[in-house]
């Protein structure tokens, strides 16, 4: 293992300290004392709070999703390990302003249990919450057992839309059907070319040959559909898009938002090759791409590989999607999308 770290058991704490040192002032954020939790300082009364979180090691998520029009708090655990209930409860208490909290996390056993325990405690304390489990990965269970699927890059879309609904002063109850509809229209698949190394163990999580790739990889390097020979970017993109499109299925005339995500080590150069082909395949199928986000947005340490996420949009979701948001890594503006620096291509309209 070759990583810039001090001590493995202090990484997460030191990372959050560095994050707040960098962005605390500009984004009006602070860390909750003694916890790997980042919260916004200023939240209007009576607005639903949006809280997200999960294990660390996936940066920029979850920390960089905190900002205006996005999340109000991010709760992080140890690397690839869900946070315990106490910091989740503390995060919600720190940002909740009388209208309850909308909580978003990936569908993993550990996250499910810890967030459930936190919600039970919050209910005892009289704080209403609704928890949305994100389950967009097509590789981890068949379509009729979606609630067994893993949560992947669609977390970002869910945080964006929940933030927009909260800014519009939607009530917790009114947010639920919109968010559930948006979630049901999200599909993701990942491909890994190399393994991640969890600092605490210092060894690659899995072994994979120089000429191999794993299709259907999970956010922590869990295996998916299976191993094949490494193929050219065009073939990989075509295979990924066709698996996603067939699963929902997305149909001719659908509008989508897309994420082409690096798992960590894969360069923007490679991602744009994948993006180029993905756009061609979608255009061929008559699927309109409203916006594309390209970059390392939800990573798995230094794993090489990528993920593609599509979210089906309707008029209401487009309006929410395009509403202004500004966090350290996720910038959205109304009208003609002005993408973040990592996304010079924009959409394909």
């Amino acid at each position: 293992m070759k990583k810039l770290i001090n001590a493995t058991d202090r990484i997460c704490e030191e990372m959050v300290e560095g994050f707040v040192a960098a962005y605390g002032r500009r984004f009006d954020l602070r860390r909750l004392e003694g916890m790997t939790v980042v919260v916004k300082n200023t939240i209007p009364a009576g607005r639903v709070a949006v809280v997200t979180g999960g294990g660390s090691g996936h940066e920029p998520l979850f920390l960089k999703a905190v900002g205006p029009g996005m999340a109000d708090a991010a709760v992080t655990g140890e690397i690839f390990t869900s946070p315990p209930p106490a910091p989740i409860v503390a995060a919600v208490r720190a940002v909740e302003r009388g209208a309850g909290a909308f909580i978003i996390h990936g569908n993993y056993a550990g996250d499910n249990m810890n967030f459930e325990l936190a919600a039970e405690e919050l209910q005892r304390q009289g704080v209403p919450t609704y928890t949305l489990r994100v389950w967009d990965d097509v590789a981890s269970a068949p379509a009729d057992r979606r609630e067994e699927r893993r949560g992947m890059t669609a977390d970002i879309f869910m945080i964006k839309l929940a933030g927009a609904l909260a800014e519009r002063r939607a009530s917790l109850r009114d947010m639920v059907p919109v968010m559930e509809r948006a979630r049901e229209g999200c599909r993701t698949i990942g491909v890994a070319l190399s393994s991640a190394t969890v600092p605490a163990t210092g060894r690659p999580t899995f072994t994979i040959g120089d000429d191999e790739m794993e299709i259907g990889i999970g956010m922590h390097g869990e295996p998916g559909v299976g191993r094949t020979r490494l193929a050219p970017a065009d073939e990989v993109a075509e295979e990924m898009i066709s698996r996603i499109v067939a699963d929902l299925p997305f149909r001719r005339g659908d509008r989508v938002a897309m994420i082409v995500n690096s798992m960590g080590a894969t360069t923007l150069m490679e991602l744009f090759l994948v993006t180029r082909k993905a756009h061609k395949v979608l255009a061929r199928g008559g699927i309109e791409v409203h916006d594309t986000r390209v970059g390392p947005l939800f990573t798995c340490q230094e794993m090489a590989g990528c993920m593609i996420t599509l979210m089906r949009l309707d008029d209401q979701l487009v309006e929410l999607y395009d509403s202004p948001a500004d966090s350290p890594d996720f910038i959205f503006t109304r009208g003609t999308p002005v993408p973040p620096a990592a996304d010079p291509t924009g959409g394909s309209r």
């Binding site: 294990g55 655990g77 140890e78 690397i79 690839f80 390990t81 869900s82 946070p83 315990p84 209930p85 106490a86 993993y108 056993a109 550990g110 249990m113 810890n114 325990l117 981890s140 893993r150 991640a196 969890v198 605490a200 163990t201 060894r203 999580t205 999970g218 922590h220 390097g221 869990e222 295996p223 998916g224």
Partner: protein
């Protein structure tokens, strides 16, 4: 070995012995996890049980139930992942069962007999299954925990004292953990491996075996049953 009751300080000793054993075996537990998961199970276990040790060290408790409660809360509060809530639930539900015991055996501030201990871990195991949704055969820690509970219940039926009961539970938990190598996972991250998980023992089941082995050795150690 003849003490019929586990007293408050005995329960503290058992759990602190488990903390030491988990710390020692943490690398091996992570290695088991690396075969089917992300390889950090031992780290989470060590973090959780270090918190248990810190909560019990030098503290005074009114009853064995209170000790189990404190251990459970320490695990939920520190370990994170799936293992924190699951092991935390095991001890918290065991504590609740001890507080409400009575017909199931003797469980009081004075101590816990084998019947009450078995009933407590039965309740704890039921809580674990409820919280995690796992059943026997899913290749999870439940596959070591349920055999251990059955062994405790059989020991109680045969009138064995807690030390003998914990010995049987340790043997049963270890056998259960070994048996997980023949299973295809239906819960947890290993389930994505399908048949690729065959031949690998479940890391969580191994942790349960390690915990009961530590309990057993602590009770069997010279001087541990001073009256």
């Amino acid at each position: 070995m003849s003490a019929a009751l586990l007293r408050c300080e005995d329960v503290i000793n058992l759990l602190r012995a488990a903390a030491r054993r988990i710390d020692r075996e943490s690398a091996r537990l992570s290695e088991l996890d690396a075969a089917c998961g992300d390889g950090d199970h031992g780290v989470s276990m060590a973090r959780g049980f270090a918190a248990v040790d810190a909560a019990l060290r030098g503290a005074r408790f009114e009853s064995p139930a209170a000790v189990f409660q404190a251990a459970g809360e320490a695990l939920v509060g520190s370990a994170g992942g799936a293992i924190g809530p699951l092991l935390g639930t095991l001890f918290i539900e065991a504590s609740r069962a001890l507080e409400g015991a009575g017909p199931a055996g003797e469980a009081s501030a004075r101590g816990v007999d084998t019947r009450a201990l078995a009933a407590a871990f039965r309740a704890g195991a039921a809580g674990v299954c409820r919280r995690g949704g796992a059943r026997a055969g899913d290749k999870t820690l439940v596959d070591a925990l349920l055999p251990a509970v059955v062994a405790l219940e059989e020991a109680a039926a045969h009138g064995l004292d807690p030390a003998a009961a914990l010995r049987d539970a340790a043997t049963a938990a270890r056998a259960g953990a070994s048996h997980t190598a023949t299973m295809v996972a239906r819960q947890g991250r290993a389930r994505y491996l399908g048949e690729r998980a065959l031949g690998h023992e479940d890391a969580g089941a191994n942790s349960i075996a390690v915990i009961f082995e530590a309990f057993s050795d602590a009770r069997g150690a010279p001087g541990s049953d001073r009256q």
